[in-house]
Amino acid sequence: MILNQSLVASDAFEKHLINKKRKKHWGIKAMGFTLMLTSMVDMFSMLVVFLLQTFSSSPEIMVTKGIQIPDSITPSVVKEAPVLALSKDGNMYLDQKLVGKTISILKKPNNLLNKLNTIKSQWASSHSTPFAGEINLQADKEIKSTSVATIMGILTTSQFQSIELAVIGHR
């Protein structure tokens, strides 16, 4: 059957056959796509190079939610140690667990000291080397520096003498 290619001057059946033929052709066209392999491999290689350059194998610490840590132009590598966090809303967290309100801990640090002593005893039981006294301190950039300084004093009395202040690095 020779089909009229125009949909205007044909009956319903012919219209249906023309549509079917057209759809068949579209199907063939759709199957005949080509993948530009050269540009795809180029893109992949560039992505791999970029991601390899930005790859970091140093340990990462979780920043406690709600804390905006300050920026620094002289950052050092993060060390694996317990994390003490002081949030802007006045809460204190040790390893993501709430210790209490910072103001009350500054006045009565017994709760914090007990938790720090537990960390120290856990260290002593699992390590043969002497206690390094390292702790990561995360604090919101808008809180009073005197509060941080007092907390650092409490940490020092509890033999945590090497305090790593968490910052966002800008080199």
Binding site: T54, I69, T74
Partner: protein, 160 residues
């Protein structure tokens, strides 16, 4: 297959790269690197607090630096040799950022050069005030670290 031209058993010059494993490897690497990528670089600023007897065992001939905040626009800088103060500077400006620039210049020109000789600072202490926020304290520590003063302690002053 391509026909060999000429006589003899010469190998073909056309090398064919098998693209399928190459693309497989690249896509696996891209996925792995994207998952493990760190977009925000978190670093640390180390503060070494001296404790009890450790502070007393410092050499008497070494230079120490004390930075004491008066407020967020003024700091007092004391250079000490042993426990004796040998130089005092007052650094102040209209805002904190410009004061930090001034402090950096003063440390470079008047602290690290003492009696026309380059000196090394053994320890530095920073005593903040309640009017100074933690971000500003980190900026002060940055100024010290930029000038290769790495043994830094943070003190608490009474009457903050």
């Amino acid at each position: 297959m391509r026909k060999k031209i000429g006589l003899g058993t010469k190998k073909e010059l056309d090398a064919q790269l098998n693209l399928t494993p190459f693309i497989d490897l690249l896509s696996t690497m891209v996925c792995f690197l994207l998952i493990t990528a760190v977009w925000i670089e978190i670093g640390t600023v180390e503060v070494k607090q001296s404790h009890g007897s450790a502070a007393k065992t410092q050499k008497s001939e070494s230079f120490d630096l004390d930075i004491i905040f008066k407020n967020d626009k003024e700091v007092r800088v004391d250079l000490k040799k042993g426990s004796k103060r040998v130089r005092r500077l007052i650094v102040k400006d209209e805002n904190f950022e410009s004061m930090m620039v001034k402090l950096n210049t003063e440390i470079k020109n008047n602290i690290l050069v003492f009696k026309k000789k380059a000196i090394e600072i053994a320890t530095a202490t920073v005593t903040p005030k309640s009017t100074v926020d933690y971000g500003s304290l980190i900026m002060t520590l940055d100024v010290l670290r930029k000038n290769k003063i790495v043994n830094i302690g943070v003190l608490t002053a009474k009457g903050n």
